[in-house]
Symmetry: C2
Subunit: 275 residues, 2 copies
């Protein structure tokens, strides 16, 4: 999917919402455990209920990988089930030397036809380039993450950089490897103070923002500081939507939670819209 | 496996050799493609031939993941085939927020019983802790990697740190999260100048050293600077061993290549031994 298609979808749904598909057998409604493929049944119901409000889905690969072969099968079925106009992100946080990264790109872009994959920037340019070689596919680099551990290294100040922190340097340098047509960045919603700094370095790139809801981020503030003239935001919510309710009505409640977030997004678009 | 068991194995084999099991269907001998499980058959033959000389095996997960379900099956069979006294490393370079990292730990330590996993430090402490909660399992953090992209971020100088670079700060800070009994670090053999610095920060930890051979590192120099009084080294070689030859005799040649490296290690142990 290219940037224009993604933006058109955002405009038509008045939504930046990405639903995190992180299914856990210990947390999904009990009645699903009796079905042949509980993970896929759960995802399918969540997708059906949230599709009017969501422009993207983001399965975190750990949740599938931990289930072994059945998990990978459920992941593949899930991705095939999501309509083509919806943006799909493999939240994999991969990154390895060049010949290995090519293998990861093949897995997620060719074998499973995801639109995007999240990557760790630590190993530098040659670990990212293999993902940028695919037309209309996206590499989403970790920049400033939403967890407490983000403070350990991402916030270290770089010498002789005019006051830049590691995550800013990561964005500044890596944004030269591709363009706003194939690179995005993960910026936690809990780090709102960083959004302003980031928009000065990359005004045009999309940001993937986790941490709304369960992790405490504020949607309105994120939109205020980070929306740009091509949308510029994909805001992820997982637990607050997919585990909104644990009964046979779970999908209905997931839909309500997604609708509520989408309504907040539509309001923020009216308030801060720049396109 | 605990540190003493690993060291005993090193002493008994006079070897630090880790064989990288990175099988590629395009590179393995053609006759194996006719077998039911070419990847496992390849690995099995390589393991049989190199076991007298190797103290560890390190499958890079990308090579298995890219083959889908068959790849995961081959990986599981491979790990089960490796004798228990041999150290096994899942080269996965994972790392995610806490609840997700727990899933990855479960996958590689419980479902597949690896002894160790490689991790990216970018997301900080809570992304690593879930792996340290397992007794006699190891987290191996990327510090100074062997690829050219290592220069992009790992070598940036941190302000007011007494001249420390990012990778040194990563080691200094993260080494407080665990101990030399459950943490190791990846340090590329192509970055020999870094080994001296690193040994001043962590004299007792094991280092996993890739980049010998195909990537140009020098074994003798690595041993000189980084061996410590409990061995302290696991030196990985993949392509130079597993693709030493491409005929029906591939395993024999892999064994010869491994034997040659082990002989160099035995010589280096005599020269620099500190135990």
């Amino acid at each position: 999917m290219n940037k224009k298609q993604l933006f058109d979808h955002i405009k038509s749904k008045k939504s930046f919402l990405c639903v995190g598909l992180d299914p856990d057998l210990k947390k999904i409604p009990k009645h699903l455990l009796e079905t042949e493929d509980p993970i896929f049944e759960f995802n399918k119901a969540i997708i059906d209920a949230t599709l009017p409000y969501a422009i993207a889905y983001k399965p975190n690969i750990a949740f599938y990988e931990s289930l072994g072969i059945h998990g990978w099968q459920a992941l593949k079925k899930t991705i095939e089930y999501i309509p083509k106009e919806v943006f799909t992100i493999a939240d994999a946080k991969r990154g390895d030397i060049g010949n290995t990264s090519y293998k990861y790109a093949e897995t997620f872009f060719k074998k499973m036809s995801f639109d995007a994959i999240t990557l760790s920037p630590y190993m530098g340019q040659d670990s990212i380039i293999p993902f940028l070689d695919y037309k209309d596919k996206w590499a989403i680099l970790l920049a400033s993450t939403s967890n407490i551990g983000a403070l350990d290294f991402q916030e270290l100040m770089i010498e002789n950089s005019g006051g830049q922190k590691v995550y800013q340097k990561v964005i500044e340098i890596s944004s030269q490897w591709g363009s706003d047509q194939n690179l995005m960045y993960v910026v936690g919603a809990t780090r709102v103070s960083t959004l302003n700094h980031i928009r000065k370095i990359i005004p045009d790139h999309f940001l993937l923002i986790p941490g709304i809801g369960a992790q405490g981020g504020d949607l309105d503030v994120v939109c205020k500081y980070a929306m740009n003239n091509s949308g510029g935001l994909i805001i992820n919510s997982a637990r607050n939507i997919i585990y909104a309710n644990n009964t046979v009505d779970f999908a209905h409640h997931a839909g309500l939670a997604a609708a509520q977030l989408q309504a907040q997004m539509a309001a923020a678009i009216i308030k801060y819209e720049k396109w």
